[in-house]
């Protein structure tokens, strides 16, 4: 991963744009109908639904523009990153996961279905973020494989933590509404808080172990796993 920093940084910015767009869309009345995000009024409440929808689309298009224009990344790699980012957003990613989430019956959902929802809704973007940065850094296929394992386990751990915080968290610290996911499929309600926390620990241990081949080069990513482990908001 000795590429110019500009390449991975552009991917990071693009992923953050996609993430922001997903939050805007997730808060819409047709989705979670949330009223707060990051301690402030949700966008659709502050500026209207139409503006929120347009902002989301703009963020998404801007994300791809950033990747497409980044000359520090080889053209074929840009194409690959764009493809993986698009897949993380589309039917096999956030959108597909959100649709499955909306359609699921929380009372009858089973673990397989819940994993399928979360792996697409949250995990796909984690994977795209990690793999995109690695691709921009000219990582080998073997490295990509190890990092994908890291991202999948981290993504699920993050989502389960999110579910637990939704049940137990302080809305003030979280900066968003809690217990709004009660009408949606949720690990905390499916497994219980203790089991969910235990799984989070094991998933994060696994994610960290996946970084062992990188030794010191994996420290930053291990810190991210540590952040999720300590997450209270």
């Amino acid at each position: 991963m000795r590429a110019k920093p500009a390449g991975p940084l552009a991917v990071a910015v693009a992923v953050e744009y996609v993430h922001a767009a997903s939050l805007v869309l997730d808060d819409l009345p047709s989705m979670d109908n949330a009223v707060r995000r990051r301690g402030r009024a949700a966008i659709h409440l502050a500026y209207g639904v139409a503006t929120a929808e347009l902002a989301a689309v703009t963020l998404l298009s801007r994300a791809f523009e950033i990747v497409a224009r980044e000359s520090a990344i080889a053209a074929d790699v840009r194409t690959r990153i764009s493809g993986e980012l698009a897949a993380a957003i589309g039917a096999s990613g956030c959108c597909g996961g959100q649709a499955a989430d909306l359609a699921a019956d929380p009372a009858s959902v089973v673990l397989d279905e819940l994993e399928a929802i979360h792996s697409r809704k949250t995990g796909a973007l984690f994977v795209a973020a990690v793999r995109g940065g690695a691709l921009a850094g000219k990582a080998s296929e073997a490295t990509l494989e190890a990092l994908t394992l890291y991202a999948r386990n981290l993504g699920l751990a993050f989502q389960i933590t999110d579910d637990v915080l939704d049940v137990q968290g302080d809305p003030e610290r979280l900066g968003k509404d809690t217990r709004r996911d009660g009408h949606r499929a949720n690990f905390a309600t499916l497994l219980g808080v203790d089991s969910s926390r235990a799984l989070v620990t094991e998933l994060l241990d696994t994610a960290t172990a996946s970084l062992s081949p990188f030794r010191q080069r994996g420290v930053v990513l291990a810190d991210v796993a540590g952040y999720v482990r300590d997450r209270r908001s």
Binding site: D112, S195, L199
Partner: protein
């Protein structure tokens, strides 16, 4: 509503879905999971590279003047690399077999890694020491790439062992043992450095030798004549060889080329380098002695497939000066006829062994040709050597052998008479390259004034050349293991001064005669020297 899954059920389900397993081992040992070939090929390739480099290094650093030709070294490396593929493949197969059944992969991997590194370093060190003494510096310079490639081979073997063990059983090493390879290689290199540094330094070329001219010294070597064997009393010329000063030595089985080169040079085979009647010549490179580990190719497969040819013994591989060459270098006219491993030398008239045998159909012919060539060239020489192979060639035919020896009698009588008259000093050598137990070689001296049979004493083969040289008036080199045996010669006739060394034999450019090699080999075979 479905029942709430337990933690263990949830854990199992997530594992099933690909979570909770870092599979980092699968990443580290990725190669192992791609099949046997992905594991086997690197070991075979690196192994062949390491082994062939070690063998090439041993030849280049030890065999006379080999290292001076980069092209010859490169071509030899190519030969040895191909030859090393098979043993490397066998090693790789053994490694994979052991790894698949290893209960303690860490130890097994360390052991195989050490074995690989040690094997390469052994081939280099042992091969260099065995093939011949050259400068320690040359051997150690080769030691740098050899050590690196030994380390690489060890690391490859270790990693492959671990990977195979994991692929078979999922077992991982208890703890890393990488440093042991580095320590072992560093230790082995240090040992090699000490071994090489304690070797004899090659002698520097000698300054012009002082020599005083006196009577000519004639040395006649009769091969296949063991005078202590049970039938020795019946030898037709035994009586002639018992009437003067005699030195004797115990003989041992060896090739005639080695024995007679010992006698001619005054040093053992470890120093003069001539051992066998036949060397090998890989395609495109000069003849060489096979390095450790490569004989199966250079003496077997390579000959069978035609990438290696046979090369007969010649002066090319001899690194010590024969007494006639020392004499010629000292300005004395010198002659050698029919001697093993003889070749052109400035100031000397040489009739090579191959030239004598080329004109001979059998042992009787060989002696006749040698004697004819000798007598044609002898006049005016100060030091002369004549080798008579007839009795040795005819050892399987007692009647013909007796006839050959009987035909020698008048020739010997003629020269013994000239010696007794003081015209020449005659040294008769009788030795047998196929001795029976307890038989001896003899040096019988006919020199005016010597007391018949008074000087019977034990000597060593390496005493012969210094004795001849001292009798010819040439100072004896102090770096020779033997010395002049004054008691066997006319009192006061031997030069008693000494020089440090005669130096190494640096042959004139065109000493090899590959165009007649095949013919010479065929002749050696037809006369019973080679199987």
């Amino acid at each position: 509503m479905p029942p709430r899954p337990t933690l263990s059920q949830a854990r199992a389900k997530l594992r099933e879905l690909g979570y909770l397993e870092s599979r980092v081992e699968r990443f580290v040992f990725r190669r192992a999971l791609q099949g046997i070939a992905a594991l086997l090929l690197p070991v075979v390739f690196v192994g062949a590279l390491a082994v062939s480099l070690a063998e090439t290094a041993s030849v280049a650093a030890s065999q006379f003047r080999y290292g001076e030709s980069p092209r010859a070294v490169a071509v030899l490396f190519a030969h040895l690399f191909l030859a090393a593929v098979l043993p490397s493949a066998v090693f790789a197969a053994l490694l994979l077999f052991a790894a698949g059944r290893s209960g303690r992969p860490g130890r097994g991997a360390a052991a195989f890694g050490l074995l690989a590194s040690a094997g390469v370093l052994f081939l280099w060190t042992f091969g260099t020491l065995r093939l011949g003494p050259e400068a320690a510096a040359a051997a150690l310079v080769w030691g740098i790439p050899v050590s690196l490639v030994a380390l690489l081979f060890g690391a490859t073997a270790r990693a492959t062992f671990l990977a195979r063990a994991f692929a078979e059983s999922g077992r991982l090493p208890e703890r890393p043992r990488r440093a042991i390879l580095l320590l072992a290689v560093a230790g082995a290199f240090s040992v090699a450095a000490v071994l090489f540094a304690t070797r004899r330094e090659p002698a520097h070329p000698a300054p012009p030798l002082p020599a005083r001219r006196g009577e000519a010294v004639l040395v006649i070597g009769i091969d296949g004549l063991a005078l202590d064997s049970p039938c020795a009393r019946d030898e037709p010329i035994a009586r002639r060889l018992s009437g003067s000063s005699i030195g004797w030595w115990e003989t041992h089985p060896a090739s005639p080329a080695e024995i007679w080169t010992d006698l001619a040079t005054g040093v053992p085979a470890a120093r003069h380098g001539v051992r066998a009647l036949e060397w090998v010549r890989p395609l495109g490179v000069p003849p060489l002695r096979p390095p450790a580990g490569a004989s199966w190719y250079l003496r077997g497969l390579g000959l069978a497939v035609g990438t290696v040819s046979r090369a007969p013994v010649s002066a090319w591989e001899r690194r010590s000066l024969a007494f006639w060459e020392v004499a010629a270098s000292a300005g004395l006219p010198a002659l050698a006829v029919g001697w093993w491993a003889s070749g052109p030398w400035p100031g000397a008239a040489i009739v090579e062994n191959r030239d004598v045998l080329a004109q001979s159909a059998n042992g009787i012919d060989a002696d006749s040709v040698a004697i004819r060539e000798f007598e044609r060239r002898f006049e005016g020489q100060s030091v002369a050597a004549l080798y008579l192979p007839g009795a040795d060639i005819l050892r399987g035919d007692p009647r013909a052998r007796a006839a050959a020896l009987a035909r020698l009698a008048p020739f010997l009588d003629r020269w013994i008479a000239r010696a007794r008259s003081g015209e020449v000093a005659l040294v008769l050598l009788a030795a047998d390259s196929h001795p029976s137990v307890g038989s001896h070689g003899r040096m019988v001296v006919f020199d005016r004034g010597t007391v018949p049979a008074a000087g019977i004493r034990s000597i060593r083969p390496v005493d012969v050349a210094p004795s001849v040289l001292a009798r010819a008036g040439i100072p004896v080199a102090r770096d020779l293991p033997g010395g002049a045996i004054a008691a066997l010669f006319r009192p006061g006739s031997l030069d008693t001064t000494a020089v440090a060394t005669y130096g190494e034999r640096v042959a004139p450019a065109a000493t090899a005669r590959p165009e007649t090699d095949r013919e010479y080999l065929e002749k050696l075979k037809s006369l019973g020297y080679l199987n």
